[in-house]
Point group: C2
Chain length 336, copies 2
DNA sequence: GTCTAGAATGTGACCGGTCACATGTTACCG
DNA sequence: CGGTAACATGTGACCGGTCACATTCTAGAC
């Protein structure tokens, strides 16, 4: 396997043609006579020639590479968006480089490096509002938000329809006969938490149920914060009979807090989450949740980004995908 | 922000020097007089010049990019290795492109494309023995295995010390007074499963406990297979009082199977896993396990790969990292 | 004041492709 | 059989850097 430095001109010499003809052959131009093509192809095979991607990028002024920047690559929700995006990008002949930027400074540095050195042609951002990182995005560079909607910026985005998902979750609890329904939110600085808040409110309003800020606690998306938040809510009198938790990790924390308080789920407390994390069915009890189609969010985000790269003048678009209610055993009939 | 096509020659013209001097400035050569440097630097600033990464790669014959190929990017163990590797690679001035190859064919295609087109300088492979994918690796290209040891190939690798970890897990159960200890393995085609098998055997042998193949069941690494495997083991008479499960996902399946069978954990059955997955502490009961330092495996793998890239003649090395016993509540004293 | 080493800077080729355009061939027409 | 359009192939510049080497400048020694 001669992986060495065989160039297009070596092949040309061997086949007795010009380097341009070789270029035509590897680019499948039809302007080549079959016998010439055959001669070039056998020269390519004999020499083990492979086109050099860097040189090609250089000449064409493109890199065929996109970047995805997330706070980390391990969070299941991020990872599955990335996986979907990477696969779709590859299907469309792009490579995807994913980087974790756990703080704003790293994010700023990365964006600057990747975009300005023209190493990538577009950037996909997961969690642009985790801190003030969105402010470091260049205005004139193809960008897409995955899993979040833009605020004022005109940026392409693909995410869950948060309002609708939250409304469905809350409605599910209402349908089961619950009236005193608490909510544990993500950080309220994030639009996603606000949108889910909105959906919860709308569902309650639609059913003429009262909304009380006492029933709402803020968390961090992580399990321990769900645990703590529920501890606080459990002191209420009367206690809520159901909780809509804005993500599964926190919901799992609630499950454990309830268990530690000696509560039976779903008999004394119904719990519903959002995401459908991998082992959701293996907690005690198996978790009812609204499943996000992360893979599809990733795929659509990749498509959106590639569109932005290839058609710079296309209008931006916001895609909001639906969630699917997965009923397991952490929700049950309300009192009465 | 003029991100357009300002080249090194534009800067040179503006600063009244040659393009080479500009090159020296951006490469921090000390062979430039301070006043010249200042002139060039202000020209760079005024024009908003940024070096083009592709052109630089082209001229230097390198790409500064590595690839990581895993069966998927969502599995927590893979994702955390990748995250660690990506961060370390970046610290060492490389970018990392991660791709998921869920089947052997995709893997072969990817490797071929990435390596032969010289798009990347080295490849990190996660789970090279998932199928026959390792056979598609080029022999003369920098490669490292992360999370697995090589068989006959002389390939760099970084992974858990599986034998030792399994021995520790089994020993923990023995120390608690268990004598009838079952094991649920991963697919026995994988070396990792075999090594953990070995560690289990060694621990039992050291304590003169009998090893019975009836006590061993094979799984797939996934939770449902743990569930099924334990169902089978539970029919044994006498039943095992403890199970060493080769990973946490399957262990979680065992937890649920035991619960469904009405068994109390750890009173009637002790369960220990391997990995320490994110919500291990939130299952019922919280899972005792051997924690892998995935982040470090990733970092070391990146270092290893970069060494292989930069010093092609360095001998290959196999790094085996230790696990840490995390005692939670799924293991308890044996009978008697 | 001249010589010379070493530092500072400039020149042109080169990395390996693609592009625009020039040239050479073929085939079909009157 | 010449003319010409369409096809096939060749030529050299170019993408934006770096490299090797040539040239110019500076400063210290004689």
């Amino acid at each position: 396997m001669a992986r060495s430095r065989v160039t297009i001109r070596d092949v040309a010499a061997r086949a007795g043609v010009s380097h341009q003809t070789v270029s035509r052959v590897i680019n499948e131009s039809k302007q080549v006579r079959p016998d010439t093509r055959a001669r070039v192809e056998s020269a390519i095979a004999e020499l083990g020639y492979r086109p050099n991607a860097t040189a090609r990028n250089m000449a064409k002024g493109r890199t065929g590479t996109l970047a995805c920047i997330a706070p980390n690559l391990t969070d299941y929700t991020f990872a599955s968006i990335i996986d979907g995006a990477e696969t779709e990008a590859r299907r469309l002949d792009y490579f995807m480089l994913s980087a974790s930027a756990h703080d704003e400074e790293t994010f700023a540095y990365l964006v600057d490096d990747l975009a300005n050195s023209r190493r990538v042609e577009g950037i996909m951002v997961i969690n642009p509002y985790a801190d003030q990182r969105h402010r470091h995005l260049p205005g004139d560079f193809p960008t897409v938000f995955a899993g979040a909607r833009p605020r004022e910026e005109a940026t392409d985005s693909v995410s869950l329809n948060d309002v609708e998902a939250a409304r469905e979750a809350t409605q599910h609890l209402i349908n089961l006969g619950h009236q005193r329904i608490a909510m544990i939110t993500g950080p309220m600085a994030e639009d996603c938490s606000q949108d889910r808040y909105l959906g919860y409110e709308q569902a309650l309003q639609d059913e003429r149920l009262t909304i009380s800020s006492a029933l709402i606690a803020e968390g961090t998306w992580l399990a321990p914060s769900g645990y703590d938040a529920y501890q606080r809510l459990s002191h209420l009198d009367p206690a809520p009979t159901a909780v809509f938790v804005q993500n599964d990790q926190m919901a799992v924390g609630v499950l454990r807090a309830a268990r530690d308080l000696g509560l039976e789920i779903p008999k004394q407390l119904s719990v519903i989450g959002v995401d459908d994390i991998p082992l959701a069915a293996y907690f005690a009890p198996p978790l009812t949740t609204l499943k996000q189609d992360f893979d599809n969010i990733g795929r659509e985000a990749a498509r959106s980004l590639i569109r932005a790269v290839e058609q710079p003048d296309a209008p931006t678009q916001q895609l909001r995908l639906p969630a699917e209610l997965i009923i397991r055993r952490s929700t049950g009939p309300g009192p009465g």
